[in-house]
Amino acid sequence: MAITTDIQTNATGDAGRPTPSTTTLPLARAINAGLRRALEQDDRVMLMGEDIGRLGGVFRVTDGLQAQFGTQRVVDSPLAESGILGTAIGLAMAGYRPVVEIQFDGFVFPAFDQITTQLAKLHYRSQGRVRVPVVIRIPYGGHIGAIEHHSESPEALFAHTAGLRIVSPATAQDGYTMIQQAIASPDPVIFLEPKSRYWEKGAVELDAEPSGDLHRARTVRAGRDATLVAYGPSVATSLAAAQAAAEEGRELEVIDLRSVAPLDLDSVVASVERTGRLIVVHEAPTAHGVGAEIAAAVAERCFYRLQAPVLRVGGFHTPYPASAIESDYLPSLDRILDAVDRAFAA
């Protein structure tokens, strides 16, 4: 497969060369196009959130959608996150497919109760009689120099709750495709949008029907010496690290998980069986996190094939720090390479 650092892929696997139906879009525009298509195809789909209408959302992901579909389908909500989620649950029970936007990751917590005690459990409590196909879009992660509560990665807090699906696109194509799949899912889906990648362009095939497994990981760079597993914003950093490692003679395989819950462990295990080394990269704190889950699962399944302990590169057990020093907190290319060195020194 083609080795690239910009992680553009398309249906042909021939990165960078547009086909007639392929266009180039930034991730934010690709998600916008996916939302538009979902709104066009199903009258029950509706968007709700703070400032998503006339403003088009603080990141303009919903830009132009209210003008096209009206105020009843693209709804500017009161500034009340629990209210947004709670009413979305009621709308879903009434047969609608609400897609809600939480303005920033750090503001999802007022809605945490509705997500974890209500949304996640209604299907279970009702013995499958009540479905709540709500999608929660959350711009998440750092790297944009934002102030407090605007850069968190809360995925592990949700991944611990049964009943939720959690995915994160790393490419424009995935942004376009996965949002449509998330909306089509009969289960609640938390859709984590890596805000640092919103403006990164990639090839998008607009005409293709969304296909493939929403929860299947993808190998975005083949390699034989060690495996890097990442998702969302960390995929690009991991690819850059793999590129740098290649210049030093180490071929790192990079896997874009795409899905945090469920995890496609089979793909990770298959890679580790070949490479013998695994480094998990994410922006969220490593303590009690998604990387810990992957490390434990791989240790269970690949113990005798591992040539080094599984390592994690992520945030520290601190609040997300002030943006002036966020680059020291986030998993950087250098910190990933340092972990690779440690894996080979073991």
Binding site: M46, G86, G90, L91, H123, S126, R165
Partner: protein, 383 residues
């Protein structure tokens, strides 16, 4: 301690005195005469049905409380004392309306036609739900205080989008009602629900049963103003009713539901009632309530109040009472038998319905559990 009845506050709708006599509404009640006229349309047959429903609810509640005391239920939230609020409001509902209850609305469930024995699954610990909400438009009980008021509001917003309000067609127009307590009014979710309902003009009725106690804390801990005053701040028309007066509860709810179905938006009803029993069977109200208060409310029993009216008007006689008593005995016997028939589900069922579509993690855990269970020589040993 000087003690006054909170229902004696001017502006509270009361159409039936504690002694069971019909009374004209307080002049301070907005549209009081119209509400009284609406209640006056309840004929003898309907009033007797309400009385039977209240009596059956009380009998069921008493039986469930006994079942808990005998170890058959893990917990039971008693509804004793709140029968007028529940039965009166529920009788105002149309079949197409949708109910989002809290966890004490046994009387509402009964009026909706849900066999109340099905409520026991949740409290016996054999399921988290126990019934299908669809046939009776009666949602599952909700234990997180106030969270369901948002679901009700969202559901009402859905009805609005479906075009099922304000058409003038009684077969099409419909509304939502949500029940919650005085404690729930302190929750953010209830306040957010009022914001959403008011700003979207959603067809939803907020029915607050102010039973005066949130476990051990009185209403004054939940609100510095009478609860009915909350609605106005959100732009939601509000009314305070004597919650032990089934006529007032019916009239206020019927009016609010009609408003909602006509597309005129939400209403907040504060039904001032009294939880005669404990919060749940785990509670001990003797630690925080005074005997004087309980005795006062004991004399304001909503069932006795309606019985006095019906006796005076010749609607209820010994024969009718005997018929209702027999029906209650039959109901409770059936409830007891049903309760004991509820056995633990198969352990593997814990993996069912977590997701609507297959989930690889869950499938792997189910598979492991199945293998583990089948590894025992004695197939029942793993239970």
């Amino acid at each position: 301690m000087p003690w006054s009845d909170p229902c004696d506050v001017p502006g509270t709708l009361r159409l039936l005195t504690p002694q069971g006599e019909r009374v004209a509404p307080d002049p301070a009640v907005p549209n009081g005469e119209a509400l009284a006229s609406l209640a006056a349309t309840l004929d003898a047959e309907r009033l007797l049905a309400m009385y039977a429903d209240m009596s059956l609810t009380r009998a069921f509640d008493r039986e469930a409380t006994s079942l808990q005391r005998q170890g058959e239920l893990g917990l039971w939230p008693e509804s004793r004392g709140q029968e007028a609020a529940q039965i009166g409001s529920a009788h105002a509902l149309a079949p197409r309306d949708y109910v989002f209850p809290s966890y004490r609305e046994h009387g509402v469930a009964h009026v909706r036609g849900l066999p109340v024995r099905e409520l026991l699954h949740l409290f016996r610990g054999t399921q988290h739900g126990g019934w299908d909400p669809a046939p009776h438009n009666f949602h599952l009980y909700t234990l997180v205080i106030g969270s369901h008021t948002l679901h009700a509001t969202g559901y009402a917003m859905g009805i609005q989008r479906d075009g099922d309000v304000g058409t003038g067609d009684p077969a099409r127009d419909r509304a939502v009602i949500t029940y919650f307590g005085d404690g729930a009014t302190a929750q953010g979710d209830v306040n957010e629900a009022l914001v959403f309902a008011a700003t979207t003009n959603a067809p939803v009725v907020f029915f607050c049963q102010n039973n005066q106690w949130a476990i051990s804390a009185p209403s004054t801990v939940q609100s510095a103003v009478p609860l009915v005053e909350r609605g106005g701040g959100f732009g939601v028309p509000s009314i305070r009713v004597d919650g032990n007066d089934v006529l007032a509860c019916y009239a206020a709810t019927a009016t609010a539901l009609q408003r909602a179905r006509r597309g005129e938006g939400p209403t907040f009803i504060e039904a001032v009632t009294y939880r005669m029993g404990a919060h749940t069977t785990s509670d001990d109200p003797t630690r925080y309530r005074m005997r004087e208060e309980e005795e006062h409310w004991g004399q304001r029993d909503p069932i006795a109040r309606l019985a006095a009216l019906l006796r005076a008007e010749g609607v209820l006689d010994d024969e009718a009472q005997a018929r209702i008593d027999a029906e209650a005995a039959e109901l409770t016997a059936g409830v007891r038998t049903y309760c004991r028939s509820l056995t633990p589900p198969a352990p593997e069922s814990m993996f069912d319905h977590v997701y609507a579509e297959p989930h690889q993690r869950l499938d792997a855990e189910r598979s492991w559990f199945r293998d583990y269970q089948s590894s025992f020589l004695d197939a029942t040993a793993g239970r």
